[in-house]
Symmetry: C2
Subunit: 434 residues, 2 copies
Amino acid sequence: MSKQDDRKIILGIAGLGTVGAGVVKIIEKHKALIAARAGCPVEIKAVSARDRSRDRGVDLSAYDWVDNAVDLAEEGSGVNLVVELIGGSDGPALALARKALGRGIGFVTANKALIATHGKELAVLAEETGAPLKFEAAVAGGIPIIKALREGLAGNAIESVRGILNGTCNYILTRMEHEGLAFDDVLKDAQQLGYAEADPTFDIDGIDTAHKTAILATLAFGTEPDIENLPTEGIRNIAPVDIEYAKELGYRIKLLGVTQQTAEGIETRVHPAMVPTRAAIANVMGPTNAVVVNGDAVGQTVYEGAGAGEGPTASAVMGDILDVARGAEGPRLGVPATSLKPSNPVPVVKHRGTYYIRLRVNDQPGVMADITKVLAEENVSIESMLQRGSASDGGVYIVLTTHETVEASVAATLDRFTTLQCVLETPTMLRIEA
Amino acid sequence: MSKQDDRKIILGIAGLGTVGAGVVKIIEKHKALIAARAGCPVEIKAVSARDRSRDRGVDLSAYDWVDNAVDLAEEGSGVNLVVELIGGSDGPALALARKALGRGIGFVTANKALIATHGKELAVLAEETGAPLKFEAAVAGGIPIIKALREGLAGNAIESVRGILNGTCNYILTRMEHEGLAFDDVLKDAQQLGYAEADPTFDIDGIDTAHKTAILATLAFGTEPDIENLPTEGIRNIAPVDIEYAKELGYRIKLLGVTQQTAEGIETRVHPAMVPTRAAIANVMGPTNAVVVNGDAVGQTVYEGAGAGEGPTASAVMGDILDVARGAEGPRLGVPATSLKPSNPVPVVKHRGTYYIRLRVNDQPGVMADITKVLAEENVSIESMLQRGSASDGGVYIVLTTHETVEASVAATLDRFTTLQCVLETPTMLRIEA
């Protein structure tokens, strides 16, 4: 490796939360191993965080302390690779990214919001100045899925990527299924156990999954990251009864991020879905993440692992740092950033698929006729249908699954169901993902 | 990407079997996509195979034909990246590798025997001359597991790697389980269906898995590939009765390649094992491959996909070609080749684990006492034990699983069982992998 003899990676780490401290620990613990794998020494020069006095379980006294994170990328800092673990799509994270990449300094980040929102701008800048830009930790924690898509599967035209990308949601859905509990009860418990944030909106409303899915769509299809036009539903409205029916029908409910090539174009969406219990992704339980990629040459590959936490996320950050050390570059978002196409997403009403619909209706003569008439008129063909429950509380459930149809027809059907006198509450609809 | 404007990858492809033809097809089909992902054009200049007249389903007329594969790497060939798909640990594949790497020309191969046997020599040479050396397709087909270990998880001290690495064996074991058939019957059928070779030794005796496991051990632990000292057992002796008992005990039998850090050192071995049915790896069916990696930071990650075939293997080869195009280098075998340690494997008799033992015995008084006495004297502690079957054929089965013990004790136990008058045939032993 004679050509690398004079190389050295000199890190500036911005953000010293769990992941930042984890990165520091790994670099201190595995110094020799990391140098061997990098082909050159990897050292921390400077760190930055909001609160200097906080005990992070690591000794930071050997490193320069910088109050303003952006200063890590200033000329005098001596840093040649910035690791950004601050978070947030704007503010200091964005300022630091622009400063580092503008100066041709490498930038490694775990920040999905930043890449999903400003990824194109940053990649264009990085490719202009020749600065490395890496973000493995932004999606699916410790699973090297960014690398797999950008590099390992680069010889494929990607057909689809489907992922369980948020451990909090999968943990909640798993407990709802196993313990028969309601969403609110599991959420409360998950918050007490530290599996969910005090403000859980970002996770449970699918926003976190949407950021990750937007990044996967860019890598898979060479389109600009487009978080603005990404239809996003979370898991707040998943009821125990739907989990029960899913089980009875041979499915399990998972929050999925999906991006796929269709006849209409590229469809990218985040929503809870019914997946067949025999599918690999259906058997991913608790906080584990999983990604299923279909490519035209490779067929289906599946990746599973911890989606969050100190070790897994720090592992992904280290992978990026070592990539930069080895001199791996190439197009930052899979293809040259200036050639990224507008995302031009297929509206979700054009989605073709099969559906699960649950209605609560009055148990009275003629109900089934009313319902099947609407379905027939909207050209929605029934695959299976069952009626269940006593009418003691004045209503019974009708549950049906459809043959393949277009979502616009399902939406029209649901609208009409809502106006039927016999239908007692807003119908529930879940997409089925094969 | 201004610095890459003058770069171009000019390929010479040696070996035009299924995979070689697959690589040619992908390059022709995805020319623009590949150039975008590579950051530079990728072209085929020359090809080589034994039989020029054979129809391979691709038009090769635009490429130079070279009769002697080694000529692809000669000065006048114009080739700057050789793709070797000939196979075999020596012969033309090795000659071509030495020639290409010696001249500083990149070398991409799907050849597990070559890397498992001569990997160190070739990596040392590549690092001296600066030539890229890549072998993603050598292990687990389309699954980018080499990249994951060498790069994505490079920040981890690897604890263990376990894999289902041979699709033929997993296909046979799956059918034995699902259809209750004997090994020989399934093998015959698999040969007719093209899932097994006419001479299946390489697959079913574990040699193919051993080559792949040797490579994984090198990447995981920085040791020299050492196929010579790798204990290897195949699946020839797996009986339907063991598959039945496995099921009853909550296990499934899989042929595993395992390499793991233990208190004694690094243990690397290939053998059929009982894996708990809830483990991810137990649910990998048919010709699918899977690899489970445990790292000290990332925890457990799992990778699944097609382990062989035109598309998946060509996908892996393309990933390597694009890696070379993007200029990714770094230590060829994960750490600088001159720093690889001798493999110094822990002998399998020192393996600590739990075991499954099946005996056929005379159904007579005192048998259980004889058997439990031996176990007690060899310090093998019983976890579960069951006796099954009628004595109509003069024997019954005794099946037991052990608590954790050292393999030497199990071996001594089995030796002593064999000498017992009541034991009717050589005992069967399978390691249990948690």
